[in-house]
Amino acid sequence: MAKKVLMGNHAVSYGARLSRVEVIAAYPITPQTQVVEELAEMCAWGDLNAKFIKVESEHSAMAACIGASATGARAFTATSSQGLLLMHEMLHWAAGARLPIVMANINRALAPPWSIWSEQTDSLAQRDTGWLQFYCESNQEVLDTTIQAFKISERVLLPAMIILDAFFLSHTYEPVEVPAQEAVDEFLPPYKPPLKLDVDDPHAFGALVGPDGYYEFRYNIQKAFEEAQRAIIEVGEEFGERFGRAYGLVEPFYVDDAEVVLVTSSTITSTARAVIKERRARGERVGLLKIRVFRPFPFEAVREMLLGVPKVAVIDRNLSLGHHGIFHAELKSALYGQRNAPAVFGFVAGLGGRDVTPRTIHQILDIVGSQEEPDRDVYWIGLKAKAEEGQPAGNGRKQRQRVKA
């Protein structure tokens, strides 16, 4: 094991290299580019024995990964934003074909207007494609999750997406423990596909299935997602035993006695941790729940953590237009109708890469602390607007009433 100072993108590359990926097909896009640049160099220098396929689009990148994975190769790619959207058709195919492809997606806001900065809407818009989704908080988690993702994916035969924030992680350097290759090899044996393309025994893959069978195939995929919950926990624990860093579906921080729990994902979590520590020092009973795995959605884990907590505030750096922040909506669906369900506040913050600072999080905690229940579906935090339309800093209802009066 060695400690290296790596940018988030290179943490992905190192994770892929240690996982001994066999085929890489990728198309460059800011802010993902260094992921595949580094892998291309690793291939060129002979540090990684993989076939590197240059393609003309992300759709082709995923198609190539699908082909490679169907032959039993360990396939990897990385993309971001518009590139991920272009892959959309192939994402469904990869999952339906039960191919354990691993992909890193760097969260970047969608155009127009053009933006290269962080926002989760690109990956969250793929939530129904049948991919496992891991949202990472640090470069260490990025590297560790890449290695775990192959093990989990290959066990349940579902593709996995490792997700990291543009620039906040992708281009930020952090010290990262890089495990030894032998240790990773012990943890992650070569992929043994249950089914693979074989020219000597030709079959058509993804054949036509009528209404009498399609339903069962879908049922099996859903069952695989259930199995994935167990796999993620077990693999995360095994990883902890071998490498000293355990992972799960969610990660609680001062949740036990908390009266208010923030629910976060990705790098906003780190900022929130600092605020929670500060408030705890002042004696406030606040806590934090990081959601690491978004698909499969950890229904049981969040219920276990949050039922009985009076108030929960979800911070979303994403938005389902015409609905809510997406973690917010998903969390509500997990808690709905449950006994002792908390009041759930939803905050949309930091779209298009706008900074979510400790001050932003203090503001959120102030709003949640000042009222028993949310007085609106979505709170926009930090919106630059005319004073009368602006977001109230304290009790929203009162202020709005004042405007009306």
């Binding site: 074909a97 249950p194 089914l195 025994d201 058509a204 054949a207 009498d212 069962e216 195939f217 099996n220």
Partner: protein, 597 residues
Amino acid sequence: MTTAIRPESLPPMAITWDSTRVNKTGSWRYLRPVYRDKTPPCHAGCPTTNEIERVLYWVALGDLDRAWEILTAENPFPAITGRVCHHPCESRCNRGRFDEAVGIREVERFLGDWALRAGKRVEPLVPKKSNKRVAVVGGGPAGLACAYHLARLGHAATVFEANPEPGGVLRYGIPNYRLPKSVLKAELHKLKDLDVEIRTNARVGQDVSWDELQRQYDAIFVATGVWKSLPLRVPGEDLKGVLSGLQFLKALHQGQGQPLSEELGERVVVVGGGNTAMDVARTALRLGKRVVIAYRRTRAEMPAIPEEIEEALAEGAELIERVSPTKILGEDGRVVGIELQKMRLGEPDESGRRRPVPIEGSEFVLEADTVITAIGEAPDFAGLPEELHDEWVVPVDEWGRVLRQKVFAGGDVIDQPHTVVDALASGKRAAIAIDLFLKGKLDRKEADEIRRRIELPQGGLSMRRYVEDPGALLLDNTRIVEYEQLNPAYFQKIARTPPQERPPEARVRDFSEVKPGFDWDEALREAERCLHCGVCNGCDNCFVFCPDLAVTRNAGADGRGYPYAINYDYCKGCGICVQECPRAVLELVREGSGEGG
């Protein structure tokens, strides 16, 4: 059936029970891709129909033996044409439209020189010898080519050469710095290998009579060339110091260089703009003379090979354009100057070049010790029967045959361009015609069928097509591939390999060759630039791009068939292979049209 499908009994992904080979998707096809080699423009543009594309293909792969065999099927003397040919192939090369034409001639020379060094021997193309005898009158390129091809077709050829050595213009015209005598001698050794008898100092009508030839030989090929210089028809032409270009060159080749040089004086004016004029000018430069070339049109209209003009000027010859001699001035019976009249260019004449028109009163005098004329040559028909020729040429039919007799003709005595390669081509054409004649096929319909099979779009006849099994001929000899038909997305721009060259100031001091020729690396690099227009070179594009995996590599390919085969059971006729073929080999034909098998 539904009872069989239980979630736990399903594979991870839906796959067919059996191979999808049962689904013959080829039945959906209404267009059929077929491989069909077409004629590259270099191949068609070469009078001797050299299969340049194949030659370059094998050179690039390093198989020089194979390249040489293909080349010498058509052209007996690659080391010669590789030096002196005016390379119409390069003017037609499609690569010229992409970046620069392939340096075909230099590769040909490389291959020719390699074969000489390697001591390669040519063998007959047909195993059996006929008992037919053919007389070849004239041992220049046309006659030697005819004898070479006749011998390779199994006939006994005897060459009657008036001069002491064979070679014609190759020996007595082209100077050493363009074609060393050692190369000529080595190339002509092929005739000895093929048991061709060459009788030198045997002038027909003097040393042997025409009637004798008629009696003793089954066929006669006449290629006596053009050895009479056309006169200037100006006053003073009979002065001492006025020479004809051919006379001058021949004297030099016969080893009279030194006395000739003393006779020439300092200042030499060469009149004319053809290859003979350039040879004369450059030879005079090498004898240490000051040389002026006087030409009646401009440099652009000069019939000489452009490189020859360029090299002559680089070596110090001075060119005066748009002038015509009106008088040669003398003192005591010897040249002292030449009077030239300025010309302007008028309307184009029948050759397409603008006709020079004299400008009255523009005459001026150039001092000169010697005037050498090279404004054209005419044949000398002495010794040949009257009925064979008119004033200027021996008229021949499309086979090179004279008056439907057993007499054939070629080279500069027939109506064709006066070039070495055209002479070689006419010799080959006559050899094929004589072969057909001796087998009694020439006057039959069969000859037309054969001609259709072996003739390329610009009229050249291919010996390979003549001797090959017709079923093995892949190349469609009726269609030339033009640049627009290629898919240049697959080509990379690569500069033409410049041949090494001795600097002008060094090379005018002697008669050694100007260019040393390509080395191995240069030849390979240049051969690799060939785009293989219209001929499959196994690039794998069709194989790689076929979405139905219906293109397979043809394991049995031995260089005679295509390296790929299409499985029409599964080819849907999408046409992607046709689109992606860089060289227009693949084409689509309508299903059921009967084309393409």
